[in-house]
Amino acid sequence: MSALAAELRRIVGTAAVRDDPAGLLAYESDALTLFRCKPAAVVLPGTRDQLIEVVAALHRHDVPFTARGAGTGLSGGALVPEGGVILGLARLNRILEVRPEDACAVVEPGVVNAELSRAVERWGLRYAPDPASQNVCTVGGNLAENAGGPHCFRHGMTAQHVLSAEVLLADGSVETWGTTLAAEDDLDLRGFLVGSEGSVGVALRIGVRLIPLPECVVTLFGAYDSVQDACATVSDIVAAGLTPVALEVMDQKAVAAVEASLYRAGYPLEAGAVLLVEVEGPAQKTRDDADEIEAFLRRRRPLRVERAATPEQRLALWKGRKGAGGALGRLGPDSYVMDGVVPRSRLAQVMDYVDQVEAESGLPVANLFHAGDGNIHPHFSYDARDPQQARAVEEAGARILRRCLQLGGSLTGEHGIGLEKQAFLGEQFGAADIALMERLRRAFNPRDRLNPGKGLPLGRGCAESFHRHGGYRA
């Protein structure tokens, strides 16, 4: 490693290579603290050319590496097994080009999601994917995880907004996949790259689609006795052929956590669930749609209905939802945020099951979910230092994921498989499907040096070689 470390320092400068214990601490896990592993070194290239040179050096030394954006991933994606190197891309944060008339931009991977939207606002544009972590997470990390967010019910996931990527492959070669021009691709390699969890290539430059800011936005709020009533209201709205941009539900425990935090939004504590609905578009049509939605919100005996049309009122309604992640994080020493999907019509059913698991495991669960998409995020609070609790939380998670699959759903809607869900992939896909994915992975990443052990149950370098439950305490 020392010869490599010296070479890396020569490429990026001494301060941009960390291999001291203190410097590595921040890189031993992502936002899923269930898994930890200390890398051999962290390299923070400041330019695209440095990054290319670094990967060429890692290739020559046959050292595995993992790209890392902001480390907000929730499936253990941005870790590297012992002996590996982390490529921190946060310094590659330039917006290289904005073509407002083409409604697209080209950015470096370390650009923070919300900053991109802020930067293009003056042209009446925005970058649509809006993960709740958008003030921190990077466009590169979004690409790798195919991130979603509250507004992807209408606007789609990251895959629908990445037009092209300049890709650095494991052997140091650079290719461009997709295009920001009106052209056809022979094979959709760009589509395959998005959501590949950093194991196909490192995105060096990303061409993104921008969409116009809406002329008018209305946010509506309904508080209900039960999660069931909130879910049924969501179904009413969708069944009427309305397509709001967002349909978000929080249960009572999530509301209680938010109301006890600095994200207090005035949600009623007595509600079993609250529902946020947002519509946007041309002014008249948006107001008409909002009227109709309001009528649906009033149909199932709501405790309260509100309608916000000014930006301040809207922000106030969203404040609790946007802050929920942070508020829930404070409920216990450790959190485990899950990510499962069911057909929307099965939401009430899976939430009943989550309640049952909560009762049986004795671990508190709060729920917030992208109801329009059937995407649930049960949030467990536990203490990782208690091995019994740590085991219980994993077991409870496994039961919920299996239930999602039984109901015709998926293991993950936006957080990825990472290290966390590898063991279950064989329950969603058949052996031949996974074998095909493995062969495809090898076509791009033949020696598995690029983000080894993630995304697929590969056996070697898999979850077991990472330390679970904060067990790593050097």
Binding site: P212, V341, P343, G374, T412, L440, G455
Partner: protein, 329 residues
């Protein structure tokens, strides 16, 4: 095109034929009804065609979840007829709605006339079943509207024009039909309203197309008559124009497009532009521009995509021991 045409009527029969061809080291090329083949594969010469057109059953429609499972030989028209009673439709409109197959729509380059509201066709595909060229059946994606489990094999295979896998089933997202469709006939010069440099000033249209020297637009519940100096027409007239446009587009061997900077302004991106050029023959981009009142240089012919250097490696990865699909006689 004179090669033998295999036409299995089930996924199992297709697998059987594929395995037999693999054993004989014969290369097959999956296809639908050959409606657009001349455009997508001008020089294809497989030992035999594997047509999936007889796999034409609608397996299930889940109206509550707005998804459906169909075989690839179903036509867009047949699917829309089946789901219309639920107030739903496919979020893509192909040039060949009746004659073409959905397999052909999704396995071909990403072209849809409904791109403005719902994005390119591939965004409507949630999952699929496939046969690899050695006859192995595999599944990709999921049945729910959102899943990032495993690699996005669906997207890789879609658009591959059958050279990586043959599609035997598709799980699709369905979209609500427009609740208050309004049709307009627009003076071509008003195209500029869509090209306004400020995206907020652009007129929202679900559909915008050009045929017979006129521009047509459809909105959902939005009145654009004033903004566009456009005349409202009844739905029958609008739909008839849309069908004529589809036909013209389907018949064109090549398509011309406005450059992206203009096309993107249409919110429907490149495909709205496809449509604008649809009624123009082959490479007559200049005429397309003239009819729209734009400078001649503004329209250009979209070139056929350059062959991907990854094709062979990926074919090898899909079925290491077998002759790849479309790999020549």
């Amino acid at each position: 095109m004179s090669a033998e045409r295999l036409e299995p009527d089930s996924a199992a029969a297709a697998a059987e034929l594929t395995r037999a061809a693999a054993a004989a080291r014969r290369s097959l090329l999956p296809c639908g009804r050959h409606t657009r083949l001349r455009r997508h594969f001008p020089d294809a010469a497989p030992a035999a065609w594997l047509s999936l057109r007889r796999l034409d059953r609608i397996r299930s429609v889940d109206a509550d979840d707005q998804t459906c499972v169909v075989e690839p030989g179903v036509s867009e028209h047949a699917l829309n007829e089946a789901v219309a009673p639920h107030g739903l439709e496919l979020g893509a409109a192909a040039p060949c709605a009746r004659e073409g197959t959905l397999g052909g729509l999704f396995l071909a380059p990403d072209v849809s006339l409904l791109r403005a509201p719902w994005g390119p066709p591939r965004d409507q595909v949630l999952g699929a079943s496939w046969l690899l060229s050695d006859g192995t059946p595999v599944r990709s994606g999921a049945r729910v509207v959102k899943s990032v489990a495993g690699y996005d094999v669906t997207r890789l295979f879609l658009g591959s024009r059958g050279r990586l896998a043959a599609c035997t089933e598709l799980t699709l997202r369905l979209r609500p039909r427009p609740r208050a469709p309004r049709w307009y006939r627009v003076p071509p010069v008003q195209l500029r309203a869509w090209l306004h440099p400020d995206p907020r000033q652009r007129v929202p249209a679900r559909l915008l197309f050009q045929v017979d020297g006129a521009l047509w637009a459809q909105t959902d519940g939005v009145d654009v008559a004033g903004a566009l100096h456009a005349g409202r027409v009844d739905a029958a007239e609008g739909l008839a124009a849309f069908e004529r446009c589809r036909a013209a587009f389907g018949a064109a061997a090549q398509r011309a497009a406005l450059p992206f900077s203009a096309a993107a302004a249409l919110a429907g991106l490149a495909v709205a532009a496809d449509l604008l050029a649809a009624s123009f023959a082959a490479d007559d981009a200049g005429a397309a521009a003239a009819a729209l009142g734009l400078e001649a240089g503004l329209c250009r012919v979209v070139p056929q995509p350059a062959p991907s250097p990854w094709l062979e490696r990926l074919q090898q990865a899909c079925a290491p021991a077998a002759v790849p699909f479309g790999g020549g006689p």
